[in-house]
Structures are given as C-alpha cells and as structure tokens.
Symmetry: C2
Subunit: 282 residues, 2 copies
DNA sequence: CACTGTGATACCCGCCCGGTATCACCGCCG
DNA sequence: CGGCGGTGATACCGGGCGGGTATCACAGTG
C-alpha cells in the first residue's frame, strides 16, 4: 500500500525540477497525460498534496520539497545498487578508489602499496575525477572508496578515516616580494594588493565572490602563478608538483586540512574493509 | 533500461533472506512462478547472476550479497521518503527527535528549551525508543534527529554534532567494599570477583560473551545492582537516576562517551537545521 | 474574442504482472 | 529401483495498469 516505486519517484523528481508537466514529460520520454496521472496517483497513495497547480505554473508544497530531497537520495541509491552489483560481478575481487587531480601522490602510493602487501588484497582501480565529483561517484556507485579533503569536500553521509592533516601553504611567483619570507599568515595573504588570490570552488561548485580568477584544478593555479597573475593557497603537499617559478611559504595560522579515506556507510565488502584497516594503520 | 524498481528489490531481498522461492513468495503474498520470473528478469536486466540455484537450496553469489546490502538501504530509503513526506504534510512545522530511555535528561531539556526560545522554531515531538532503535527510526523516516552515544551507538551514515563528553562511572551496591573508593580504574572493575559485570548490548544487539547478566536498559541495571547481584558501568550523567542503594565511582581511565545529535545527511529541512544550530551553541 | 499554452479528463490499446497447471529434476524411502 | 515429495522453471491465460491520442477547461494575451 505505501511502497513508492522508483518510476513514480523518477517522474516526481523530474516534474519538481521542471515545475512544468509538459516539459517534464518530454524529458522523461512519455506523454503529458500519463505523467499527470502518475503524479496524482502518487499524491493519492501518500495522501499528500505535493504540487500546487495554479494558473501561473506549478510550485512545490512543503511536503513536496521534502519528498524531492528524499526521492533524489533514493534514486541515487538505486542507481548505485545497480552499478555496484554489476561491478561486483564483472570484477569479483577489485574495488574502485576515486581521487582527484592534485591529490597527494605519496600518500596515495603509500596506501596502495601497503594495501597490496596485505594477504589476499583486492585489485584497486583508481578513478580520477574532477574537484567535486568524488562525492557523486561514491554516492552513485561508480566508486567504492574515495580520497577527499576535510573540510573542503562534502563528506555528508560517508564514513571516514583520517589519513593526514596538513596546514596550507601560500604559493607565490618566485620573484614576489613576499616570496623571501619563511612564513606568512592568512592576513598577509589577504593584504596582498598587487596580485589577486585565486579562488577555489566551494562544495556546491560555486565560487565565493571576489576579484581573483576562478580555478578548478591545480594546473590552472600553477600556470596563473607562474605567469605572475595571481597568488594561491593549497595544502602543504602541493610542494611536490610546484615549478621553479613558484615559491611556497607556510601559512602558520591556516586551518588544518585533513586528507581522509571516505566510503559509503554499510559497506560490508571485505575488500573495502581491508583497505580501511590498512589506512587506519598508516 | 537499468532502473531497478523497488518491487524487484523487495522481491529479491525476500528471496535472499529466505533462500527459498516458495517461502519467499508466501511471505510476499504472491505465487512462486511470478517470483521466479521477476528474479530472472532482474538478473537479465543487470546482466548478473544473483542466486546460485543448486539442488539443495539457493545460495547468494558475491554479486547477490552486494545487491542485498544495497537493496536494503534503498528500500529503507523509500520507506523513509514516504514517512517523512507524510509527516511533513500532516504536521507542517514539527520534527521528531528520537532518544532512548536513560538519555541524559538535563541535556535534553536544555536543548529543547534553547531551541524553543529560537524565533519561529518548530514543535518537537520526542520519540522514546529502545537501545539500538534510534538508528533504525532515523533511517526509516520515523524520526528526523536523534540523541545518541558515541562510540556505543551505530552512527554510520549520519551527520553528527557533539553535545557533551563524559567519562564512565562504575555503579556498585552501596555496601560493596569498593564503594568507599573515590575513584576506580577499568582494571579494578575487571578484577572484581564477587560480583559479575552487567553487559550492555553491542551495536548489532548481540552481547559480548561473559559471565555477567545481559541487560538492555538502565532500570534493569539499577535493579540488579540494588539487589547486590551485579556491578555496572554507565556514563557519568547516570548519577541523576541512581538510588540510595547505589554507589557511583568515577572511572578515571574509561573511554570518553560523547552524547551527539545525529541526523540523516542532506536534511535540508529548515527545522532540523535550526535545531542543529541551537545544539552547536550549547 | 480568437489564440495560445497550461494541466486535467476520457477513452482505448497493449504489455506485463500475477494466477493456475504442469514440467524437469533430484533426494528419499520402502 | 521405482513411486513420492519438494524444489524451481516453464507454459499459458486473464486482468489491470501504464502509456498513447484526442479533447476539455481555464486563464492570460494580443
């Protein structure tokens, strides 16, 4: 009686996103009337009005907003279930680790080596993805574990194991006046007037307003700084990929950034458990 | 093409639990042939063998075990979606907080009072549940937030805010030789020979093997200790409900137990957000 | 007031879910 | 060794429901 089908949830999410039945139907590849009927049926089954149909378009009710959130996570979960099941069947003893460009190489290598040395360890495939994508691939089942950064990445809903905590460093063009200093503070960076501070994306992939260039990987950052057009901050392990045109100065009062191993809760997979155990001993 | 329907997942989970098509069909209230067909269809759609049908019963394949885990969380999520949506509609501005018998009264009261003083705060319904039930009611949508204890409760998959950290205390019959001490260590407790140590359930609701009586709430503990049949441990705030027949002695080297406010990730509900903010300021 | 664009309604069709009957296969006994 | 019971798979059928087309009711707009 009250078992929501994923088809209904898919329909509802699409309508809630479009706030327009005809467009939603088109996106779903069905006609508008069956869609209207499906939503009505969902509302009847729940005994709840989800959408306010006024002459001037469709709006979500309070309950509809709740269901939109919930439905998205359910649909993600269903997609993840399918992907993980397929992966479990196709490569029976392997797991996928998501990381991002700019992740600490040495740490990753140390983790992989330590795990490979374990008895009957699984094969690890490394999935390189963009800045904010790790949470998504972890949620939708394309990866089993991920290396992420707290507090910069969105860790909501994952279990984590801390691997390494570092401070931030400032990265300046080698010839900059401040490049000779042995340490800097956050205030020093903010006070730099001749060069803008490159801005990293936030968790929602938007950028904090400000004058500096918007960057999304460390190569862009390296280029901009080498060209003398910006200064930037990164975690201390970034020193390994800097060029001679760069100067790295410790930021003594920066927030700590922790590299963590993250995985979806309730992973009962033995391979994941083994990797976590290995990580905990690093 | 690859959207798992909850009906299929429900069927699969039942078969995986029963490892018997006919019994599973009976539990599901359908006949056996449609169930067989549904599972085959699921396997065809995934391109994966989920069940090994041998004479002598059915067993799960590796991939089947993965899907069983994933499917359970998806089904929980779907049930939670329905419950939360209904609750959001029926009591538009209220939220449910799950706690357990034995939870620190003062802390709860302080939290509720502080939150009630906030501008346009929602009404809070308190749901009292058994020892390990909070995680379940939080997962299946009967509650929006919960008060739980780390590291004793299963917090996997929830976001948390720490409220209070305490040590453990030993609770002894008032007349016990050790009751006169001003402090004890874990070793002292283990060394007690004349009385067994009452055992709390673990996260999976099983009990560590041992001689002491198995308890599941603090009233049982209080009774047993008052009768002089056991000693026990509890967090320091337990002192508020002890009787005169009890002696509470601090355990100087005990692990810290933290009372946390936990909620499902991605709660975008304003009411939950407000409660969290209030809690963070306590 | 015709026109456009919205979601809702009416109605029909075809597929798929579920039911019954039966089969194929094996283990168990007498 | 041959019936017997119990397993899941197969065959086939009927009904309900998901999806389609046609149309309506209604409001905003020129």
């Amino acid at each position: 009686m009250d078992t929501l089908e994923t088809r209904e949830l898919r329909y509802f999410v699409t309508v809630a996103e479009e706030l327009h039945f005809s467009r939603a139907a088109e996106r779903l590849g069905i006609a508008q009337p069956p869609l209207s009927r499906a939503i009505q049926q969902l509302e009847r089954r729940l005994g709840v009005i989800l959408l306010e149909r006024s002459r001037r378009g469709v709006t979500l009710t309070r309950a509809g907003q709740v269901l939109l959130d919930e439905a998205r996570t359910v649909l993600d979960g269903a997609a993840a279930a399918a992907r993980r099941t397929r992966r479990a069947a196709s490569s029976p003893n392997s797991l996928t680790l998501a990381t991002k460009a700019g992740m600490n190489h040495e740490l990753l290598r140390k983790l992989l080596d330590a795990y490979a040395a374990e008895p009957d360890s699984a094969e690890i495939e490394v999935l390189l993805c963009g800045m904010g994508d790790q949470a998504r691939v972890l949620r939708d089942g394309r990866a089993d574990v991920a290396l992420m950064h707290r507090p910069f990445d969105d860790l909501a809903g994952f279990d984590t194991e801390d691997l390494l905590t570092e401070q931030l460093i400032a990265i300046l063009p080698a010839g900059h006046p401040l490049a000779a200093r042995t340490s800097l503070t956050m205030a020093d960076i903010s006070a730099i007037r001749d060069l803008p501070l490159a801005r990293w994306p936030r968790q929602d992939a938007t950028y904090e307003p400000g004058p500096g260039p918007e960057i999304h990987d460390q190569l862009q950052l390296a280029q901009l700084i080498a060209l003398g057009q910006a200064v930037g901050v990164h975690c201390a392990s970034a020193q390994s990929w800097l060029w001679s045109a760069h100067a790295a100065i410790p930021l003594t009062d920066s927030p700590h950034v922790t590299t963590v191993l993250a995985w979806p809760p309730h992973s009962r997979s033995l391979a994941v458990a083994g990797l976590i155990r290995t990580a905990a001993q690093l």
